[in-house]
Amino acid sequence: MTNGRYGKHGGQYIPEILMNAIIELEESYNYYKNDYSFNNELNSLLREYAGRPSLLYYAKKMTEDLGGAKIYLKREDLNHTGSHKINNVLGQVLLAKKMGKKRVIAETGAGQHGVATATAAALMGMECEIFMGLEDTKRQALNVFRMELLGAKVHAVASGTQTLKDAVNETMREWATRVGDTHYVLGSVMGPHPFPMIVRDFQSIIGKEVREQIIDKEGRLPDIAIACVGGGSNAMGLFYDFINDPSVELIGCEAAGKGIDTEYHAATIAKGQLGIFHGMKSYFCQDENGQIAPVYSISAGLDYPGIGPEHAHLNDIKRAKYVPITDAQAINAFEYLSKVEGIIPAIESSHAVAHAMELAPKLSSDKIIVICLSGRGDKDVAAIAKYMGVEINE
């Protein structure tokens, strides 16, 4: 990667008004990423506050039940705030504080990134405002309340499709309005350079830990690493440390919603085209006129029409493979993991679990699959109940 490019992807396609902030961010990041005290402080937060390292759990019952490859779960759901999002947020909010910013803003889809940002802002004494699609505030009402409890102001975005894409638009607009004292804590490996690089670096702790943990447990690297992909931050975090290990197959699972042959999906690699949006050149679900398509997934966190530029590049060079997983497959996996292992996964992560359930029985027992369990499913219980036609009363 040079100058924010990953092959033909990446770049800095943003309004001039934000360019100075992006340059300042890159300079600050390049300084602090090598700064001993910054890293010390961040590592201490990750360890003492977020609860890292997260466990690498051998899913014995799942492995036995599926009858094939050994399955390990990287338990990002056990982090403070319940997902991998805290890894990136602690890094970015600490960086913002060092840069002298007083306020952080963020977009959120399922609410996990918003909750993580509100948490870090509370911890570090910064003002916090979160932008969330109106539709998403309804399907993730619990997380909205959680953010408010943490002292953040939540803006419901009523424009466009009222989902993650529109929350990103609105956060960029807000950033352009108050760029001086405000840092935009971008939540995935997307957006203009340097965000895809910064978020990847902060999330790469997932793969680094997996490498150590699996060598400790199995004496070797895994054969397959699987993670769900919306923008793609937990997947990039898992993949990054293994990119130069060709024996490790990298698989991203994108949201196929009601099926990639319908209009209701968010499967960017399967159905998207090269385009330029949200500051980056990458693949996007769009129409023949370059209008960004309304996308759909039962999972608010994967309901995004694009994918991070480094993923787009890994796909181009065939280093990683991306497969579409439907709502039905994800819900089946959600129920399966809950019942078999006693772990309720986020509906996002269930996409990755679903693919592993397909793969494992086809592989021999000497193969190892690591699934990134990016978050816990508490937030999704009401949505799943609704999908299944079950009424829940408080």
Partner: protein, 256 residues
């Protein structure tokens, strides 16, 4: 050869923006001609995009209205072809990069040239990425207009040195939209730009009243009005031609 310099040849320029296809392309043509008749010196035509991140609510809604009636680039080029039978006023397109990228850079700039479009403004292509378009602009003699914002500071030099057509000086922080007060020290930004280039400087974002127009035009070469015009179109719909004429006339009068 671009006709943009003509817009600045007779005193301060009034630049009016509207979104193509809002509420229909026939009406867009009528509204353009109405603004020309009222004394506009240059017209910026917005090509609608689903996610216009540099725009405020008023222009966002115009984009949505235009897309809801299936406004496409090919139809916009046809509309401009018809406009060109009636006026030779300089015309500039404003859009986001993805519709242009999808249409194909060469195809887009060739069609701009075929239809006497003089320049293009793309808010999501900063100086660092401009090279992506420059060869096509040069090949088809279309000016690629650069924006300079209140945050541009030490970037002014390099942006202004390569400026074409006019410099679009953003009046204040944030997105497009009417503002009751513009606090940016525009005169010093404009003076910094003038130190580097002879290209005319037009100020946009937030200007809506004749008083603001008069004040800003005392140090800029022109003013750009978008949201206030689009708001008139939103309020009057198909019957906006007359109020637009009156508004543009008043604004042009304020800077003359």
């Amino acid at each position: 050869m671009s006709k943009i310099k003509n817009a600045f040849a007779n005193g301060k320029a009034f630049i009016g923006f509207l979104t193509a296809g809002d509420p229909s392309l026939d009406k867009t043509e009528e509204f353009i001609l109405s603004m020309v008749e009222a004394g506009a010196d240059l017209i910026e035509i917005g090509i609608p995009f689903s996610d216009p991140i540099a725009e405020g609510e008023v222009i966002q809604r115009a984009n949505e209205r235009a897309l809801s009636v299936n406004t496409t680039l090919n139809k916009i080029f046809n509309m401009v072809k018809s406009v060109r039978l009636k006026t030779q006023i300089p015309i500039v397109f404003l859009t986001y990069l993805n519709p242009v990228f999808t249409y194909g850079y060469d195809h887009f700039f060739r069609e701009c040239n075929n239809n006497d479009i003089d320049g293009v403004i793309i808010p999501d292509i900063p100086f660092e990425e401009k090279e992506e378009l420059t060869p096509f602009g040069e090949k088809y003699s279309i000016d690629i207009i650069s924006l300079i914002a209140p945050t541009s500071q030490e970037r002014i030099d390099k942006i202004a040195k390569k400026a074409q057509g006019y410099v679009y000086c953003v009046s204040s922080m944030g997105v497009t939209g009417v503002r009751s007060e513009i606090k940016t020290d525009l005169s010093s930004i404009i003076s910094d730009i003038r130190n580097v280039t002879d290209v005319p400087i037009a100020v946009g974002f937030g200007i809506s009243t004749p008083e603001q127009a008069a004040q800003i035009s005392s140090y800029a070469d022109g003013i750009i009005v978008g949201s206030a015009i689009v708001k008139i179109i939103e309020e009057h719909g198909e019957n906006a031609a007359k109020p637009l004429y009156e508004y543009v006339r008043a604004m042009k009068g304020a800077i003359s």
